[in-house]
Amino acid sequence: MAATAVRPGRVWNRVGIYTGAFVFSVLCGFPFLWAVITTFKQDADLYNPNHNPFTFTRGATLSNITDLFETTPYLHFIVNSVVIGIIVVGITLLLSLPAAYALARLSGSWGRRLGIGIFMVYLVPPTLLFLPLSRLITVLGLQDSIWSLVVVYPGFTIPLSTWLLMGFFRSIPRDIEEQARVDGYSRLQAVIRTVLPLTLPGIFSVVVFSFTLTMQDFIYALSFVSSSSRMTISVGVPTYLIRGDVFYWQSLMASAVIVAIPVAFLYNAFLDRFIQGFAMGAVKG
């Protein structure tokens, strides 16, 4: 845009937006910055209250990170968390996509009511389900196994995912699917080739939501798994890096940042797809 064409009112608008965005991003990025700086600090530097927390009074060190990998099964924690996350996301999609499609398209006025019913299930607090689920895990013989979490998590992710996807399916005109059926495809093929591509933003939302939920959970991961090699990040890290009242702050920060940064980049990649997907959905052919 040519600078001469911009009116003063517009300029102030821009300044306002960019100032707001800057303040907000600093606010969001600040804890990460602090964590990263802390990661590289020596004990003597970190625990001296006279030192500025944002500068290195003594030299930076990598020993906190090497300690993390050498003295704790941190790699196991990561692998466990990622494996559980991926399997749970897979199960969630596998069950909630057909369920949401059926509720949105096939069951008439009952679809909506059932959908709300399923959503209500999500509103039951997870802590309330704790006792029956731990009994279930014992019956299945899955104590102290990552599979216990693979069984439990879909119970929390599927209801909301189904409800979310229902909305996406409803927003896609029936005509498009029927057109595909007339154009020579079976109902299943029509859904896979025309409806699912248009539901991508919804599918991405479900992936992000489910993955985040499995990464965040603490109570089930804590109580169903006790061997250190089977722990997830959210349980393993505090178990190993908080001993009695001693907090290994630098390594704790390192463990959080190492996981958070790739996840943040991954979400950012999804974010582009969201925006693209929503823009596509806005103009229905």
């Binding site: 005109p173 029927e178 595909a180 154009d183 093929q189 052919g285």
Partner: protein
């Protein structure tokens, strides 16, 4: 090419009967229009033929083959929806190729088939665009190209012109007619617009309450309506209907002229017309009023061409005439067409 036939076709949705026993037979390569007000069952009938709904009773035959239990993909039909239903995530050429992929046409043939369909509809320059970048008329052509690329036996069109603005509609109607004449495929066309029906159809089936009220050429439908519904649904303004001796007497507004303009021909029925309001529309004038000597309740419209001199002042009673052979008679209760009774009507 194939004929479409329905036998005793019935479709119920809960308590409502959308299609109520329809027997229909198209000709080979015929352009058949299903005409009716909204909710008359015409779209449901088309969807039953397409296989998108399954009938409660009856059968659908395409090319003499019973297809009632076959899914849409096995019926060798092509359908154009009112919304055009273009796949928003695919380019125009991918949209047109979509039925080819389903039909198992080898990929090296696609290019040639796509270009054949696109050139016939004049959309070759749009092949790389996405549907959202197209105007309404262009979308319609893409939908038609996609429909014809597979060379179906039957075309089913569901109000394909209703999303276009009025100006575009006339040219699109003309193109649609030329297009069908060129490829000569049997076509079933659904519309609620009688101008489209008259202009496009070789035959028109008028539907109401899920039943066919009349089927015939546009001329038959207009000049010899089978019942009072067809008489009033087709024609703008509709046929005037007056109650007289347990019958309905009908005549078209354009047949109702001032006596002074009729030129003293024989075989005319004279009626005193109490003029209410006159509407000037350029080429025509619509004169609204009543004929108290026949039916004081019924509203009557006369459509006077601009060639008729202005002799109808509001509020006065003027002698009008209608040719006797333009009168149509219907049963007052059932609306069914009756032969003309002996003697004058007034």
């Amino acid at each position: 090419m194939a004929v479409v036939e329905t036998r005793g076709l019935r479709k119920r949705f809960g308590d409502t009967v959308a299609v109520d026993g329809i027997d229909l037979l198209t000709g080979e390569g015929e352009y058949l229009v299903l005409l009716g007000p909204s909710g008359c069952g015409k779209t449901t009938l088309l969807r039953l033929i397409a296989g998108l709904e399954s009938p409660s009773e009856g059968d659908v035959l395409i090319g003499g083959r019973a297809v009632t239990s076959l899914p849409p993909r096995a019926r060798r039909i092509a359908m154009v929806f009112q919304s055009y239903a273009l796949y928003p995530h695919k380019s125009v050429s991918r949209n047109i190729a979509f039925p080819l992929a389903a039909a198992g046409v080898p990929k090296d043939e696609w290019r040639q088939r796509i270009h054949w369909a696109a050139s016939l509809l004049g959309i070759e320059h749009l092949l790389d665009r996405k549907p959202r970048e197209l105007s309404g008329g262009e979308r319609q052509r893409v939908a038609l190209a996609r429909a014809m690329v597979r060379e179906p036996e039957v075309f089913l069109l569901d109000e394909p012109l209703s999303n276009l603005d009025a100006k575009l509609r006339a040219t699109a109607r003309d193109e649609l007619k030329q297009f069908q004449q060129r490829i000569g495929t049997t076509t079933v066309y659904v519309t609620h617009d009688q101008t489209e029906a008259m202009g496009l159809g070789e035959r028109i089936a008028v539907l109401e309450h899920g039943r066919i009220q009349q089927i015939g050429s546009p001329r038959e439908i207009y000049e010899d309506p089978a019942n009072a519904f067809v008489a009033t649904f087709v024609g703008a303004p509709p046929m005037n209907l007056l109650q007289r001796n347990g019958m309905l007497v009908g005549f078209r507004p354009e047949h109702f002229l001032p006596e002074s303009a009729a030129g003293g021909r024989a075989g005319l029925q004279r009626l005193s017309f109490k003029v209410g309001r006159v509407e000037y529309l350029g080429s025509d004038r619509y004169v609204y009023g009543r004929v108290p000597e026949v039916d004081p309740e019924a509203k009557v419209v006369a459509k006077l061409p601009s060639t008729v001199p202005d002799v109808v002042p509001s509020g006065e009673t003027v002698p009008f005439v209608v040719p006797l052979d333009a009168l149509r008679f219907f049963d007052r209760d059932t609306g069914v067409r009756k032969p003309p009774p002996p003697g004058p009507i007034a």
